[in-house]
Symmetry: C2
């Protein structure tokens, strides 16, 4: 690993108490991180007024909510959350690792 390269597997961490988050890279315009879920764990539906986001399922299977939709996603699927559209993770069906990208980064702007 150097300033440009990270093995996402090194940041995977599961916690039976709660879903975990890890930052991978953060710039002024773009953020990359990981969200890791044990089976049954969730992420409350929330909205980023001025930011776009996607989840890419690295492994596992989960039900996500975006707007009025609920979708079941498996490894290799990407779920897009436009700015202003509520989104979250309804439940993970199994241990699930999601790569998350967000622009602009959380906490900025």
């Amino acid at each position: 690993m150097n300033e440009y390269l990270a093995a996402t597997a090194a940041s995977v961490r599961f916690d039976t108490e709660r879903a975990t988050k890890a930052d991978l890279f953060r710039g002024d315009r773009l953020f990359a991180g990981l969200n890791c879920f044990e089976p049954g764990q969730r992420q409350s539906v929330h909205t980023h007024a001025g930011a776009e986001k996607f989840y890419f399922l690295v492994s596992g299977k989960a039900r996500l909510a975006v707007g009025a939709c609920e979708v079941d996603a498996v490894a290799g699927d990407i779920v897009w959350a436009p700015a202003g559209v509520p989104h979250g993770v309804v439940t993970a069906y199994e241990r699930t690792v999601m790569l998350v990208a967000m622009a602009p980064p959380p906490g900025s702007g």
Copy 2:
């Protein structure tokens, strides 16, 4: 697949003539796409003056260049290209699929 969900596997396409690109999602602030490489294919080093980008290796193995570094990346690795820092794919060692995120999207701003 709906407006929020895409199976990246459905957009994977290899071409022995050249590396391929596919758009997955595009917003005002964030772009997600796929780059697919046959062994030996490359992406010329280039720079986005005002955009940050990452490559996430979904499968395969490739050597990437970022700034003064060359790094070998495998499935699960993420390579970060800050704004203004030259980057590209030196070579794919095998068939390689990269998820690419960029903020702001190419062609915008």
